[in-house]
């Protein structure tokens, strides 16, 4: 029993169950899940689907926070990814073409990769405090997104693109599949390789880690890049769900949701110990609906 009580996930799970219980009393239909047209429908399904972008970002954020950092730029990166993909799709002669959408998505991800490297550069090479380093991109990033959309809201009408945010696969929302895949990838990377150990170690005691021969620079580059790519994927899901890129509002405040999810899930903001499964539990309690 004491093992259960001291588990870092104990309280998050309790809170989540309590929230479910409250909902069950307040809204009796809360747990009803129906199958319509072969898809799952119901509040729980909505929660999971709407939570997917936050969850995706939270996975990247978990790693950043474990290195004692923070990434404020994820919201802006969401907006940039959305803006890039929509403007490419709109600019192509055939928005419904799968190839176009693939090009759009890959371009957005590549740009995010560069932005992540940029954050990593500021933190790891220049040595700027993460909150300020990523604040630069948080501020400028939305400007860049607006520059891409020229200040307009870009509405796209592309069936393949729409699938990302609103589609279903085997009865489960595509967004959830994506989140699950990223989660699995992150879990694989941190638990099956030594990355998890290295990240924790750098987060807890950077100087000791350096003397033990860890390449903390490379690690920081990797986590900020991973976080940016996660943010871009989340941005694509959000944009696809709304079928429009809105440079001002896509992913607004999502960094707070994600950070909250990470911290409620038991990762200390002071770096170090983390729990990558935590965001799963924390997610639904963090949604401000």
């Amino acid at each position: 029993m004491s093992r259960v009580l001291t588990n870092r996930l104990f309280w998050p799970v309790v809170v989540l169950l309590a929230l479910f219980a409250v909902n069950l009393v307040a809204f009796p239909g809360f747990f009803a899940i129906e199958v319509k047209n072969g898809h799952l429908f119901g509040s729980l399904v909505d929660i999971v689907r709407n939570g997917a972008p936050t969850l995706i970002i939270a996975i990247g954020m978990t790693l950043v926070i474990a290195t004692r950092g923070i990434d404020l730029s994820v919201g802006a990166i969401c907006a940039i990814a959305g803006a890039i993909s929509c403007s490419i799709i709109l600019g192509s002669p055939d928005p419904g073409n799968v190839g176009t959408v693939v090009v759009a998505v890959i371009t957005a991800l590549l740009v995010a990769l560069v932005l992540g490297l940029w954050n990593g550069f500021l933190v790891a090479v220049i040595g700027v405090q993460p909150i300020i380093a990523t604040l630069v991109l948080m501020t400028a990033g939305r400007g860049i997104a607006m520059l891409i959309t020229e200040g307009q809201i870009l509405t796209v009408n592309s069936a393949p693109f729409k699938t990302l945010g609103s589609g279903f696969l085997f009865g489960i929302p595509v967004a959830v599949w994506i989140a699950a895949a990223i989660f699995a990838l992150a879990a694989l990377l941190t638990r099956r390789t030594a990355l998890g150990l290295f990240i924790e170690s750098v987060g807890i005691n950077p100087e000791a880690s350096r003397q033990a021969g860890l390449r903390s620079r490379g690690l920081l580059f990797s986590v900020y890049t991973f976080s940016a790519v996660c943010a871009a994927i989340a941005g694509l899901v959000l944009t696809s769900n709304q079928t429009a890129a809105d440079a001002n509002n896509t992913g607004l405040f999502i960094e707070l949701d994600a950070i909250l999810a990470v911290v409620i899930g038991g990762t200390s903001l002071a770096g170090g110990r983390y729990s990558s499964s935590a965001p799963w539990w924390a997610r639904s309690s963090s949604r401000r609906s």
């Binding site: 030594a194 924790e200 350096r210 003397q211 033990a212």
Partner: protein, 520 residues
């Protein structure tokens, strides 16, 4: 003696941490005007007993009385107010504040309702000069070596008119001279009736200063003895629960193996290696299988030399050669890839990763060497951990425990194990036996001698000159940030070394006396 009333008395104290019964119904008493040593192996419960007494931990059972009155301190602030002044084992001061503040914080003189900085600095300077410590009170604490920080902590503790002074391994990084100063202070406090609780793993010091000894083993009270009635050999036997294997065999082997250096090219040589503000250019050769001791006083540049050799700091003059080829170590990682490892003297700040398990800490350098992708197979890692836990007697013998929860000496052992695990060709050990108990110390010295026999080179830095002499083939002596002598260890004695240090001349130096420099 026992007729007087004890100023502090602990009865039937028990405390349990997850998985460990750290104290099991222990009693302890402290009389005014005596120095009482608390002895025991690493992890025996000494620091825990102290923390129970000062209110850091509250015991599961037991009674604490101070001046005959039952107390239950809720924290160090309260015990301080009750006249108990403490120097905890690891230096627990604030690197971001000045030396003066670290000494005076919480009891600064006030004037017109605000802190009187001038008076604060003055008082701090007085306390420092009582310890003959010549540093600027307005310098940042973090800029000083661990030894200086330890002295500052002592200055802080002696600042108040305490009736009880607790010193938990205060001498672990001090040189003989500083220890002498400290003992002078302790004696004068004792004269004035202060009760002093002293912890150290140096038996000489314990026998020199204490009137009474209490021995703990595995959290249990073994007994309380008058120092004069207890033979050293019995003390050790009581501490470790068995006879101590003797160290003579190491000594003799080192003497025999005098030749040490067999190859013609040194494994590592430093040529004119220096760094402004740290050390003047230094030449040093280390051959394969050789143990080079570095001796020198506090602030003489021994740690600085080690840090540059191992890529932790960068030199600004000179060159490092590995097997005759010039190398430039910009990071510790670069040095590690030439198989040069450095074990820092400051285990808490630069060594252990407190919130990781023993296993992870042990694997860290090895895993870093393999890269992130090739994880050490779990089975091999477990074997490795288990073997080091056994060889170095890491207690509790649980690979999953967080290193931060180990006792100080056991943390040091984990750090050592981390470096031994990567099988370096040159291992630079900076105070590797700091805070380690007699039994484990012998074990570690034997291990180092064995490894050297098998071809590993070692640079061995320690404030304990006997230890340096016992292990080294050669001894390099540093003074005032330069190397003043490099002597083969043939019938060298501690007094020889002290003599060289005092003269500051090794022959090649000009004999003009160098001005005493204040380490800054």
């Amino acid at each position: 003696m026992a007729e007087r009333n004890a100023v502090v008395e602990l009865n039937d104290i028990s405390i349990t941490f997850p998985g460990v019964k750290a104290l099991d119904s222990v009693g302890f008493r402290l009389f005014p005007g005596e120095v009482h040593s608390l002895m025991g192996e690493n992890g025996a419960g000494k620091s825990t007993l102290i923390k129970v007494l000062t209110g850091v931990y509250s015991p599961d059972t037991g009674v604490i009385t101070v001046d005959g009155e039952r107390v239950a301190f809720s924290g160090p602030a309260e015990s301080q107010a009750a006249g108990i002044s403490t120097v905890y084992q690891e230096v627990n001061l604030l690197a971001n504040l000045t030396v003066a503040e670290n000494i005076m914080l919480g009891r600064e003189p006030h004037r017109f309702g605000v802190v009187d900085w001038r008076a604060t600095r003055k008082r701090a300077a007085e306390l420092l000069s009582d310890l003959h410590l010549d540093i600027d009170p307005s310098s940042l604490l973090g800029d000083h070596s661990l030894a200086v920080q330890q002295l500052v902590a002592i200055a802080r503790a002696t600042n108040v008119q305490a009736k009880v002074l607790i010193l938990d391994e205060p001498t672990s990084s001090l040189d003989a001279d500083e220890v002498a100063e400290l003992f002078r202070v302790i004696r004068s406090l004792k004269e004035s009736g202060v009760a002093i609780l002293f912890v150290s793993h140096f038996l000489d010091q314990v026998y020199e200063i204490s009137d009474r000894i209490t021995v703990l083993r595995n959290g249990k009270l073994i007994g309380e003895y008058l120092t004069g009635d207890l033979l050293r050999i019995d003390l050790v036997q009581k501490m470790i629960g068995k006879e101590l294997a003797v160290l003579d065999d190491i000594q003799s082997r080192v003497q025999e193996e005098q030749s040490g250096a067999t190859a013609d090219v040194p494994f590592v040589s430093a040529i004119g290696l220096g760094r402004k503000g740290a050390i003047e250019p230094v030449d040093l050769d280390v051959y394969e299988g050789e143990v080079v001791g570095i001796a020198g006083l506090l602030g003489s540049g021994r740690t600085e030399l080690a840090r540059i050799l191992s890529g932790v700091d960068r030199p600004d003059s000179g060159e490092i050669q590995v097997e005759g080829r010039g190398r430039r170590f910009r990071t510790p990682r670069a040095a590690l890839s030439s198989r040069i490892a450095y074990s820092s003297e400051n285990r808490r700040a630069e060594g252990i990763v407190a919130e990781l398990s023993v296993r992870d800490n042990l694997a860290l350098a090895l895993q870093a060497d393999r890269g992130w992708f090739r994880r050490i197979p779990r089975k091999r890692l477990d074997e490795l951990t288990q073997s080091y836990i056994e060889t170095l007697q890491i207690r509790p013998a649980n690979p999953d425990i967080l290193v931060g929860n180990l006792s100080g000496g056991n943390q040091q052992k984990v750090l050592l194990a981390r470096w031994l695990a990567i099988a370096p060709r040159l291992l630079i050990l900076d105070e590797p036996t700091r805070g380690i108990d007699v039994g484990a110390k012998a074990e570690i010295q034997k291990l180092v001698a064995n490894l050297a026999e098998n071809g590993m080179s070692v640079v061995f830095i320690s404030a304990e000159l006997e230890e340096v002499l016992r292990l080294s083939n050669r001894v390099a002596i540093m003074r005032d940030r330069r190397m003043v002598a490099d002597l083969p260890n043939r019938d060298l004695t501690v007094d020889d070394i002290l003599g060289v240090i005092a003269e500051g001349a090794g022959g090649d130096e000009s004999d003009a006396p160098t001005a005493e420099r204040i380490p800054s």
